[in-house]
């Protein structure tokens, strides 16, 4: 029987200041799509799986079910209880990481070439045949609850939660995907099994692989690993409708340094203004030392150790957010400076700022592609964002194309001091609760 085993497109991508990487688009015999970069230098493979949906798929009243389920995948599978599973992982010297976020369940695997088939059989057991044994459920539940109790008295967690609740309300984004002490306490094994069927399905799967493996080997591997997952999972939740009321919202908490989260509406990656906004964010607060906020709040005034802003391009909402921490006695001044900079950025930026941001962003981009693990992550993130492989070679040109006029237009359109909303946790002086 002659059959096309693998369908394969390859895109050669020339990165500036970077060796070519060749992204192959692989379809396995069973129909699973993946992106692959072959590199046989080191005898291992990094495999990154993402299942879109993640914690946002939790059924009503079952907050934290997906997170707890993911925590249990490596706690017993097939004929192995938790301890037997862990021993087998150690024998294989494979590294499996399982994680859950608002938008995805992620599985990050590294395995040696010398025992690849055994490692994949083991990983498969955890994804397809997790046991969710009663004792394992109670043990992992206790670990999750311990974390939730600590979050209650951690100013950073209090601030994130207060911000999410204020902005996203009853949407899944409005509450932590870890759940609450009450919701996690009430979860049953049936809830966990339902979360497993809902979250780990092939209709929401993205795969990136990098390392010592050929397209044909990867195709077979993916069929073994994933073909027995259900074809469809739980319906995706609706998009969020974030509300930014403006103002400063204080949560009183006795700690010496106030933690601040702030944000306003953002912009989707498909919006033609996304790249100008991305560059503008770099100039305003993009995390490097050269950003205006780092210069004004830290370098000139010594009000903080760090401040950054970012464009959050999430699956169900876009927003523009940032974070800073400053002593209770100085946080009011820090917020004043941030507000002033937000207003000032509406007037645009200087030619030098734009050029510096572009050279930084275009130069730093290829430096991200520096290892099998990091590249596998990039491959799978690009797929989730709906990008094609040639994005890697076009991306810098889109940065370069941003003009001063673009920046000014986008700053006027998007930066909105009236909606810029601050959540503060601590004992801030000179900031009344609103």
């Amino acid at each position: 029987m002659i059959r096309l085993v693998i369908t394969l497109w390859a895109t050669l991508i020339a990165l500036p200041a970077m060796a070519e990487i060749e992204i192959k688009q692989v379809t396995s015999p069973g129909g699973i799509n993946a992106w692959l970069v072959e590199d046989h230098t080191i005898p291992f493979t990094a495999l990154e799986l993402r299942f879109r949906g993640g914690g946002s798929l939790d059924a009503p009243g079952k907050r934290g079910a997906t997170n707890l389920m993911v925590g249990l995948l490596e706690e017993g599978a097939a004929d192995m209880d938790a301890r037997a599973f862990a021993k087998r992982s150690e024998e294989l010297a494979a590294s499996f990481g399982y994680g859950s976020s608002d938008d995805a369940v992620s599985v990050s695997a590294k395995f040696l070439t010398e025992n690849r088939d055994q490692a994949i059989a083991h990983l498969r057991a955890s994804l397809i045949e997790p046991r969710f044994d009663a004792d394992a459920v109670e043990r992992v539940r206790a670990q999750v609850l311990s974390g939730l109790r600590q979050d209650v008295t951690d100013p950073q967690s209090i601030a994130s939660r207060a911000f999410d609740k204020l902005v996203f309300g009853t949407h899944p984004y409005g509450a932590s995907q870890d759940g609450t002490i009450d919701s996690v306490t009430a979860l049953t094994r049936d809830d966990i099994v339902a979360a497993h069927h809902g979250a780990l399905a092939r209709d929401r799967l993205y795969v990136g692989a990098v390392g010592d493996i050929t397209a044909e080997q990867l195709g077979k591997l993916l069929d073994t690993l994933l073909l027995d997952l259900p074809e469809t999972g739980a319906p995706m939740p609706p998009a969020a409708d974030p509300v930014f009321p403006g103002g400063t919202h204080v949560t009183d908490f006795d700690t010496p340094q106030s933690v601040v989260v702030f944000g306003q509406p953002g912009v989707d990656m498909t919006d033609p203004d996304f790249f100008p906004a991305y560059v503008l964010n770099q100039i305003l607060g993009g995390g490097s030392f050269e950003s205006r906020l780092m210069q004004e709040v830290r370098e000139k005034r010594g009000l903080t150790y760090g401040i950054y802003t970012y464009l959050a391009d999430r699956d169900l909402a876009d927003f523009w957010a940032g974070s800073v921490a400053s002593g209770n006695e100085s946080v009011a001044e820090a917020i004043k400076v941030i507000r002033a900079e937000w207003q000032r950025a509406r007037d645009g930026v200087t030619e030098a700022e734009l050029n510096d941001a572009k050279t930084y962003m275009t130069g730093a981009y290829p430096l991200r592609f520096d290892g099998n693990g990091p590249i596998a992550n990039i491959l799978v993130s690009m797929q989730m964002m709906g990008l094609t492989p040639d994005y890697v070679s076009n991306r810098n040109a889109m940065i370069e194309a941003v003009t001063m006029a673009d920046i000014t237009r986008v700053a006027q359109r998007l930066l909105d001091p009236a909606q810029l909303t601050f959540v503060v946790v601590g004992k801030p002086q000179g900031l009344g609760p609103t």
Partner: protein, 448 residues
């Protein structure tokens, strides 16, 4: 303590050794500066690092935090660079830069496209000796490090606990003083304090240059001679002699209470030797001991306390193999609600007693050694972590040969070695036990 937070976490985990030896080249410049080149030609990226054999434990009493403060100040100007121009230049070349300070070292690094290496060397060699500071730099940056202390320590009861516990652990050695400094001493750090530390320790004969990535030893040597090789050695560099710990002869115990503690836990530490040049065997045995007792889900503490007795949320062990002077071997137990810290501690001690009685499970030891071998392969994926490994080792009294021998030393550890190390180690008279708890005697119930 890093200049800013982005990459700090990666440094907490000291991966085990890794690289095929032929990818590492080392040599010395005429002025005594050591150079290590680690080749990885998969991507045209280079990591350029300058490591100094001086950290917070080399500070003079009374100016705690000055090593880290100076690290921040090195981003201010030199004779030829304006304040902030260093990082701005790195950024304009598409690179990232940062720095970090520990007890035994201070290091500065840039990640750039490999063809920008020369510019990095030019700037890094410049600030080794040509720093220019004024009072204005001092005051603002002192506020920044105080905010850093707020963020890392004062806002976090676990960090405050660790800081107090370190002070109880070391009566005489500077490992008992926090790297970031005691607040009251940080508040009065002066320009003179910073310059005095700079003048004493920043010189080529106290530094190690590490370049990793898409570079060749020949080009690194040529550039290093051009930029670093012309800086004269400091003839007055002091010998690295620190006040050492007296023998500990009495058990120490402490309780740290803070209303922000929602999850109490117990930490027991024992003074222990670190890796020593040419004699790493004992440290290797302690690494394996920590893996056996608390290295993961199948470790003995977790087997007994998490699975069998179901008393703890988590248990673990940790051993700081890399240190210039004596280090600690730590045990942790995090009890479940309803289990007191005393019960958790007693259960932990029962596991140690059981281990000393029954010895090592040979199958477990074989699994651990297999993982150590595999970690050498995985580590090759991250050349920056390999560069860090050499930087830490060479500032902590080890040599390139020690680093390269370490995987074999680990594989050669026997059951008898581990038991001998354990019997030496577990002496309560040489231990410190700390309890972290909320204000009340029992953990408070918190609801949302």
């Amino acid at each position: 303590m890093t200049r800013f937070l982005a990459l700090a976490a990666a440094l907490l985990f000291a991966p085990l050794n890794a690289f095929a030896d032929d990818s590492v080249t080392d040599f010395k410049l005429d002025n005594g500066m050591e150079v290590v080149v680690i080749e990885d030609h998969r991507a045209p990226v280079a990591v350029h690092m300058a490591w100094y054999r001086s950290g917070s434990a080399d500070e003079t009493p009374g100016v705690s935090g000055v090593a880290h403060f100076l690290e921040h100040l090195l981003f201010k100007g030199t004779d030829t660079l304006e304040p902030g121009e260093f990082s701005a230049t790195v950024a304009r070349n598409g690179g990232n830069d940062n720095a970090f300070t520990s007890y035994d070292y201070t290091a500065y690094y840039q990640r750039v496209a490999a063809d920008r290496l020369e510019l990095m060397m030019k700037m890094e060699s410049d600030r080794m000796v040509n720093l220019r500071l004024d009072e204005g730099d001092i005051e603002t940056e002192r506020n920044v490090i105080l905010e850093e202390r707020n963020q890392r320590v004062d806002n976090n009861p676990s960090a405050l606990f660790r800081e107090q516990k370190g002070a109880v652990q070391y009566l005489n050695h500077r490992y008992g003083v926090p790297i970031i400094g005691w607040r009251h001493e940080m508040e009065s750090l002066s320009l003179d304090d910073a310059l005095s530390y700079y003048g004493t320790y920043y010189s080529p004969n106290n530094a190690i240059l590490i370049v990793a990535g898409d570079v060749t030893p020949d080009e690194v040597k040529t550039l290093a001679e051009k930029y670093y090789g012309v800086i004269p050695a400091n003839p007055d560099l002091p010998e690295r002699i620190r006040a050492i710990e007296p023998p500990q002869t009495a058990e120490r115990r402490m309780i740290f209470r803070d209303p922000r503690v929602a999850q109490p836990w117990v930490n027991r530490s024992y003074l222990a030797p670190a890796r020593d040049s040419g004699a790493q065997e004992k440290a290797a045995a302690l690494v394996l001991l920590s893996e056996i007792l608390g290295g993961g889900q199948t470790s003995l503490l977790n087997e007994r306390l998490q699975f069998d007795k179901q008393m703890v949320v988590y248990a673990g062990a940790g051993y700081g193999a890399g240190a210039l002077d004596d280090t600690t071997f730590d045990l942790y137990v995090v009890p479940k609600p309803g289990v007191s810290l005393q019960e958790a501690e007693d259960a932990m001690d029962a596991v140690i007693a059981e281990f000393l009685e029954n010895g090592v499970d040979e199958e477990q030891l074989a699994r651990i050694k297999m993982q150590l071998k595999a970690s050498q392969i995985y580590a090759r994926d991250d050349v920056e972590s390999i560069a860090n490994r050499y930087g830490r080792a060479l500032t902590q009294g080890l040599t390139v040969a020690d680093v390269q021998a370490w995987p074999d030393v680990l594989q050669a550890v026997t059951v008898d070695d581990i038991m001998a190390a354990a019997r030496d180690l577990f002496n309560r008279d040489r231990s410190v036990t700390g309890w972290l708890m909320a204000d009340a005697a029992q953990p408070v119930e918190v609801s949302q």
